[in-house]
Symmetry: C2
């Protein structure tokens, strides 16, 4: 039962003369089953449940491949391990992070997005993308005091 993510990955691979392998299919399946912001490590754990023999290096390689194929996207991140999130049918957004409890809220702000376009133009840049993370204290943590 090939779903559209697998179709998209296979199309991407074929187009570049790359191979559709057991490991890649397992990583994609694991990735699609996870939600939110996923580290290579949690993806490794999930992928091992599907294909116990899979190697860590392969997971690192494959999640990067998923990003190139437009199925995953790096989530803005300050410290520690890199995180990825679904990019297919999960449109662009930015993040609001609570410094106390780590809660992450996704948001999309039209005003900011269009102001960014203006900045690109102002400096003669051709836009590729952006990363923005707002940090603060969520309502709960603020109420509980610092």
């Amino acid at each position: 039962m090939p779903n559209s993510e697998h179709v998209k990955l296979e199309a991407y691979l074929k187009e570049r003369g790359q191979k559709v392998t057991k490991a890649r299919k397992a990583v994609l399946r694991a990735f699609m089953e996870l939600e939110g912001h996923v580290t290579a490590d949690s993806l490794f754990a999930a992928a091992k449940k599907i294909d116990p023999g899979i190697g860590q290096a392969t997971v690192f390689r494959t999640v990067k491949l998923l990003a190139e194929a437009g199925l995953a996207r790096e989530a803005c991140q300050d410290e520690g391990a890199r995180t990825y999130e679904h990019a297919f049918r999960h449109s662009h957004h930015d993040h609001l992070r609570c410094e106390r409890c780590g809660t992450i809220v996704e948001f999309y702000d039209k005003t900011i997005e269009s102001a960014q376009e203006v900045v690109f133009k102002q400096y003669g840049f051709v836009a590729i993308g952006h990363k923005m993370e707002l940090t603060g204290l969520c309502a709960d943590c603020a109420r509980r005091g610092i």
Copy 2:
């Protein structure tokens, strides 16, 4: 000739019962002499010219201290080594980075800054700060083609 940066650092240290040391003074001096976005490594090199015996760990510790004291600030960074920039008398701004040549342009956009405040309020967050980096191709790189 104590300048205001040294005064500020010493005040910060005294207030917290910490000591004003040769190494800390050397790192601050080196930092003030450098411009733009500084890595711990380049700061280490610069500090060694002032105090040849200084250790790398001390530079890492001290630049972090400078950030706490409000003299340095982390510059938004995707890969590789963390970078710091002057925070004292160098007001807040965000960055525009060319993916081809690495050029970094600093900018400040009032519209974005105030829209961020609105987002914080919308989600009930108490604002602490933000990191934003726009990536694209600078005029030169865009002209030369990809």
